[in-house]
Symmetry: C2
Subunit: 353 residues, 2 copies
Amino acid sequence: KVLKIGMIAGDGIGRQVLPAAQRVLEAVPGIPKPTFVQLDAGFEHFQKTGTALPRETVAALKSDCTAAMFGAVSSPSHKVEGYSSPIVALRKEMDLYANVRPVKSVENHDARMVDMTIVRENTECLYVKQEQIEETPQGRVARATRQISERASTRIGRMAFEIALAAAEVKKQRGGSYGWTGAPTVTVVHKSNVLSITDGLFRESVRAVAKEYPNVEVNEQIVDSLVYRLFREPEKLSTLVCPNLYGDIVSDGAAALVGSLGLVPSVNVGDSFIMGEPVHGSAPDIADRVPSIANPIASIRSAALMLEFMGYVEPAAKIYDAVDDAIRAGKVTPDLGGQMSTDEVTEEVLKKL
Amino acid sequence: KVLKIGMIAGDGIGRQVLPAAQRVLEAVPGIPKPTFVQLDAGFEHFQKTGTALPRETVAALKSDCTAAMFGAVSSPSHKVEGYSSPIVALRKEMDLYANVRPVKSVENHDARMVDMTIVRENTECLYVKQEQIEETPQGRVARATRQISERASTRIGRMAFEIALAAAEVKKQRGGSYGWTGAPTVTVVHKSNVLSITDGLFRESVRAVAKEYPNVEVNEQIVDSLVYRLFREPEKLSTLVCPNLYGDIVSDGAAALVGSLGLVPSVNVGDSFIMGEPVHGSAPDIADRVPSIANPIASIRSAALMLEFMGYVEPAAKIYDAVDDAIRAGKVTPDLGGQMSTDEVTEEVLKKL
Ligand SMILES: CC(C)[C@H](C(=O)O)[C@@H](O)C(=O)O
Ligand SMILES: CC(C)[C@H](C(=O)O)[C@@H](O)C(=O)O
């Protein structure tokens, strides 16, 4: 088996954290020796070439790679004609329909008990990017389309139930630490009290899938209350399934619970392709620091998550444990109160593999 | 001057907290003696009559009332044919275009320093409720329209700048406690990295208004990062201006910071009408308790906020102070760790007026 991984560093600290993930993937035992292809995308690439997501990048991923890692992308602070987010485009082009974001505190380290996974629909909702604007006598009026389909809601629902089952298995093995009480649970996040048709369809589609998973409990929460609960009783939340935009917002909120956006990994999952991606952005404010102080943990954990979703469960667990050890030892970057550089943290993790 | 206030208790604890607001409005010195008109609306009213927002309620507000208070409304947990949220309808019918939600911790009581105001656009965004669904060979596909207009964005922007100036004035008088550093600031919340046309128009319209307020600093934050910052450094946020749905989500998140949704007031503001409304919902889980343990503070503070926006600044301040005293004395309901009933808390506040 070959493991050829497309590396799309993108902008800002994407270029500092992706090499960390690469070093970890090169070192972790239990996987075929990986090779790496460096690929372009991002706002800076757009500024240089007029294209944010070159066709060659997509073609290389499709024809040549087993999986990929994506770093980060900068958002221009004003409207730039012709620019459109390459990560949003990539998720759609590769039909990576699920964005899976586990947010977990570190046992015997963090005071707060957080162990949840946000399963975010990754292809539709307002991200279909169908927008128009018109002049009217009262000024300009802009409209965007929010699309929710039965097909996309059903497949993201199924993914959430599978993840809830797997998470329950892991928790059972850990022996119920972290207050886990029993049945796997999926919480459907929506706003059907206002969006009765679109979010109504999302809710109904996920609930229809629930019938295939009689051992998984299903409940639901309106998105605004969910964000409230996220901060009031995060320990009661486990697997959340969300339409695209709610998932985007909720996962940043959840990241705040565990101390830093620099910790939270994600994978973009399709039926035949997996792309790891740290949840953080390009952090232009620290991107030029030498030595780099960008936190590589989200990126390293994203590489592990990518392996996990490719079936390399043991190697992934090794990486997670090494990262947790580094965190417990305080061998971390300044965003977490540590003193280490990107490279030093990475070496700490490598040592423990 | 007459003060005739429409009281729309709605569902659940709305019927327990609105009388508390009424008692406080009857007792506070410095305003014309108010009279009250009890008006119907809500899901329970819909179940009895087939109408969630009776025409008589709207007519009474328009022809007969100087202002109003709205309690809470239940959201059915499944799709109910013909039902549509009366509060959403009321905001639009009365053109109450701004929903202003101050979230403040209590000085000399709360550990965490929070003093922000969410200024939420209240008439458009996904709340225009234009939704369709169609059958396709791949299953059902639903679509909703998100509308952002220059007109609505401009007027909500103006409201935010006015509020930022007023808040800065109050803070100056308080002498910079709570870490206030100087210039009034408005943060524009958007997601224009994905929604470049709709949120682009929102951002641009608010920034155009900013030119009229050279003394107010303007910055901006993408909604997902904003929710992250809300929990990481709430003390750095002051006045936020948001499109409708982001405002809905962000204000629930902010409420979590101050300890309970039961504390956070709001007003729905139009050019010629003001309606106070606690941010919490109908809380069906506690609505039937005797004696009631519903926290009346959000409702009482909403009455004060209503008065403030009608120009009764001193009476409003009296109510705020009385409420803060009750909180500092621990004379609160169980959601805040207290032992008191709705009535007992209300009497505590009345005593201090
Ligand atoms: C950069 C942006 C387009 C992206 C998104 O909204 O999906 C980011 O916030 C994320 O969560 O991955
Ligand atoms: C009840 C619901 C329709 C309402 C909203 O979404 O505006 C509520 O969440 C609020 O914030 O007032």
